[in-house]
């Protein structure tokens, strides 16, 4: 596919797909299709999508190496920013519709409740990555940019922990995300070790 086609078609298409969940949930929210507790539903679901898109972002590099489909790298930033976008909506819903801007309560939650500590830390750590996501920043930071953006592994682990510690009893769903994340990180470890062995031999 030509570069022009990517600019003209693939990116906007992917952009629209990433907007689908938030569009659907907004529509369902205002048409009363989210059950008896719609606020809880949208808060949970936007959190789900933040985590899912983050994991998809992390899947790009391994997938690229396996398939040699290098074009994929062009979508990584957009996906990462969408993970941040859903994280923002998720956090905003908590601040506005769960806590009603009661910052004392929020601080209490962040300090006292491990699952909120994990989720909140994960969000805060995303901020420097978002700020440094421009081409200009990559040029300025150079190899330190790569080091900085390794934070995403910690962010993903904290996000999975956030979900795991939140559920009351049924850990099947967070376990699935944990397994996917372990696989994605495991692949990187294998690749790293392979490269190291090649160098030494």
């Amino acid at each position: 596919m030509s570069d022009l086609a990517i600019v003209r078609f693939v990116k906007p298409a992917l952009f629209s797909v990433c907007l689908l969940p938030v569009t659907c949930y907004t529509f369902w929210f205002f048409t009363d299709s989210l059950g008896a507790n719609p606020i809880e539903a949208v808060t949970r679901r936007t959190g789900d999508w933040a985590l899912r898109i983050l994991l998809i972002t992390l899947a790009i590099s391994p997938f690229r190496r396996l398939t040699g489909w290098n074009r994929l790298a062009q979508y990584r930033r957009m996906l990462g920013l969408f993970a941040f976008f859903y994280g923002c909506v998720h956090l905003s819903l908590y601040i506005v519709l769960d806590k009603f801007f009661d910052f004392r309560e929020i601080l209490d939650d962040v300090i006292k409740r491990p699952f909120i500590t994990a989720g909140f830390t994960s969000f805060i750590l995303l901020l420097p990555l978002v700020i440094t996501s421009t081409h200009k920043m990559i040029e300025i930071l150079q190899h330190r940019w790569i080091q900085l953006h390794r934070l995403v592994y910690l962010i993903a682990m904290l996000a999975v922990l956030h979900f795991w510690w939140m559920v009351k009893i049924d850990t099947r769903e967070p376990a699935i995300y944990a397994i996917i994340l372990a696989a994605l990180l495991g692949f990187r470890l294998v690749f790293y070790l392979q490269r190291k062995m090649l160098k030494t031999s």
Binding site: G35, A36, N37, I39, E40, L97, D98, F100, E105, D108, D109, K112, R113, P114, F115, W165, M166, K168, I169, D170
Partner: protein, 318 residues
């Protein structure tokens, strides 16, 4: 030139019977007839049994303990449920409601009492009068509802079995039926679900056994045909689909306490100043509302029940 004029009565392509089906039409008719017959069997038996266990819901008086707050809609009460026997998500119990077989239904009472026994549902509740009790329900998950229950006073029912002086507690058990109840096929909780009250809590006039809501029999997802309602405690204490009650001398084991003793105490009285380890209990969202309201001590029933806990440290006995 040949023009085909389409008339209204012409069959279009989609209405033409498939050739294979046409050739096999006799078999098709035979099969559908026998399928209909098979489908009718459960429908017939359901009709008969539900007739047998009919309770009389006419002329039920509203009890003085009823609140005059706005009722939560029947739709919300019956589509947002925690009933893990029928699935873990809030919408599952409604979807899986048909798996709970409520007829016939017997309740067994034993333990520290003079007259243990087992009765059919109607017989079991017959000593007491059906009343409408509009109670607040506060879930441990920080949401709440206002529900017009139809039920009988628990104490009236329990006294018939003449608990002895050794009966310090009452334990309740939900139906154990893993063949029918999909949730019980996975060890999420230690089945069957069980709950317990101190005997004075059980005998308190606020405690009821509900058999209906909104003037009709309980929908299965709300704990049909017989459930406990203890409005000053978190919802999970109000055990659903009860088949057995036991008077005990020792404090009985309760399901959520077995799973997480730090998170779910035996008493589990609604208390805004004792947080759940993972979330605050200071506020609650009334289902159907956007903003949150303050949670009240004993779910607003302090005047009635505070005496039960005089001298007790509620932070320790959460």
């Amino acid at each position: 030139m040949l023009l085909k004029v389409i008339k209204k009565c012409d069959a279009n392509e989609s209405q033409v019977t498939d050739e294979a089906l046409y050739i096999d039409r006799r078999k098709f008719i035979r099969d559908s007839a026998s399928l209909t017959a098979v489908l009718m069997i459960p429908a017939l038996s359901l009709y008969q049994t539900s007739e047998a266990a009919k309770l009389n819901f006419k002329n039920i008086g509203k009890h003085k303990f009823s609140t005059d707050e706005e009722l939560t809609s029947l739709d919300d009460i019956t589509r947002y449920n925690n009933f893990y026997e029928l699935g873990l998500r809030k919408g599952d119990p409604k979807r899986n409601a048909h798996h709970l077989k409520v007829t016939p239904w017997n309740v067994k009472v034993d333990g520290e009492c003079e007259k243990p026994g087992e009765y059919g549902l109607e017989e079991f509740i017959s000593p007491a009068r059906l009343e409408e009790r509009i109670y607040r329900l506060r879930c441990v998950e920080a949401w709440s509802m206002v529900i017009p229950w139809v039920g009988v006073e628990l104490g009236t029912i329990l006294r018939r079995f003449q608990p002895t002086s050794k009966a310090k507690f009452v334990q309740f058990f939900t139906l154990y039926d893993p063949q029918n109840l999909p949730g019980q096929r996975r060890p999420v909780l230690d089945w069957p679900y069980r709950e317990g009250l101190r005997i004075d809590e059980a005998m308190h006039p606020l405690s009821i056994l509900a058999v209906g809501l909104y003037g009709k029999e309980l929908p299965n997802q709300n704990g049909a045909p017989l459930r406990l309602v203890v409005p000053w405690k978190y919802g999970f204490k109000s055990i659903k689909s009860i088949v057995s009650i036991r008077f005990t001398e020792q404090q009985p084991a309760t399901s959520w306490n077995l799973v997480g003793p730090r998170e779910y105490g035996f008493y589990s009285n609604v208390n805004p100043s004792v947080d759940h380890p993972r979330w605050s209990q200071k506020k609650e969202r009334r289902i159907g509302e956007i903003s949150k309201r303050k949670t009240l001590l004993f779910n607003g029933y302090t005047e009635e029940v505070a005496g039960l806990y005089a001298g007790m440290d509620l932070k320790e006995h959460y």
